[in-house]
Symmetry: C2
Subunit: 231 residues, 2 copies
């Protein structure tokens, strides 16, 4: 029974890694679609998101099946509940890629990326890809140093996010309202993407150490809002 | 044992209703703080959100305790897992109220609500309050007609959300970039608030009927993005 249970957990873990890998691909494609107004690539991300959603639902069903059949307790139980939460976060990360792609598709044949912010969004996208790849690795290896790396990358993304608002709200900003809206939404999507990764990393750390802190997930947003105020 | 279990479920349900009631108060206050630049009221919402987060964590701990001690299966198991998910959605709804309040606080002593959109945001806020109140009632009574009401109200909110973008992207829009950013973010927060309520309502319906549809949660956003494109 114990053997069977550990097999099941390993299977859950593999599924999480598989979804995280797809999310990594999706944010990479979304970033490129947004930067280059590649509407075919944007469509790909949107179609792939349905696959991510399906895999997340299948994982949830399997987790519930494990709860029902194997009745885990203590740490084993927390692993399964955590898998449910991680899958929800990964699914939302996929949604963020999709939303960025939808912006690209909307503006086609115009460029979605607002003038003067191309470099910032390319960098944000690269960091989001890095964070997703690190998250996948964290889920695969449980190497907790990777959780720190994710937090650090998230800090960099928050800075870029703040810089978008600084730019948009500065006197030099010549963008039309469309560009302002696109910059606001795209930046928020990138920032939320990273936030979800941090939330997952915290859950993995919690499982490994039992050290549980809540209420920190929105620190990044608090920073954003402050920057928004000061810009 | 059966008796104990049903007592536990009732307790979970009561806790969800309690959180939903607090969320209703928070979105009502947030809407007023945003409309009138009432920074004291905004501070209240921000402080109250910590309470909502605490209650959600306590509920989650209790749900995990029930899973561990009472080892529910079949429908009972799904009820407990659903409670975990509903608590996560309610917690996010509280976050949306907090974000709206943070915008109000940021802009103080200026008005956060952009010129020409005061009526729209007041209406969105009222509908969000209505949706939260209905959600609380749905959680209390399991009356599934309330789920339909929530969906309908969400449609109205989506229309208002689209109208914000239409306004902001129209040639008549004279707002500065600050107003454009605030309108974009506040409208998105209101719309996400309602989306979370719809997600919860679907879970309640699913529990009652076993009828499970996924991938619908982002229809509202797809509509938003389309409108954004056509405006």
């Amino acid at each position: 029974m114990r053997e069977v249970f550990h097999q099941s957990l390993e299977d859950l873990q593999n599924r999480l890694v598989e979804i995280a890998d797809l999310v990594t691909v999706s944010i990479d494609k979304a970033t490129r679609a947004f930067a280059t107004s590649d509407v075919a690539l944007a469509e790909e991300v949107i179609a792939d998101d349905a696959k991510i959603d399906e895999l997340a639902v299948a994982l949830d069903e399997q987790a519930i099946e494990i709860l029902a059949r194997q009745q885990p307790v203590a740490r084993d139980l927390r692993i399964v509940v955590t898998a449910l939460r991680v899958s929800a976060s990964l699914e939302r990360m996929g949604d963020m890629s999709e939303h960025i792609s939808q912006l690209a598709r909307l503006r086609f044949p115009e460029r979605a990326v607002p003038k003067g912010l191309k470099g910032t969004f390319t960098k944000m996208g690269e960091l989001d890809v890095e964070i997703a790849r690190t998250l996948s690795e964290l889920l695969r290896t449980q190497d907790l140093r990777l959780a720190d790396a994710i937090r650090n990358t998230d800090d960099d993304i928050d800075e870029l996010h703040a810089s978008v608002f600084e730019k948009v709200l500065s006197d030099n900003w010549k963008g039309e309202a469309t560009a302002t809206v696109d910059a606001t939404l795209a930046s928020r999507y990138h920032e939320r993407f990273a936030d979800h990764a941090v939330a997952v990393a915290k859950k993995v750390v919690y499982l490994a150490t039992g050290d549980w802190h809540v209420d920190e997930e929105d620190i990044a947003l608090a920073v954003e809002q402050q920057e928004l105020g000061h810009a």
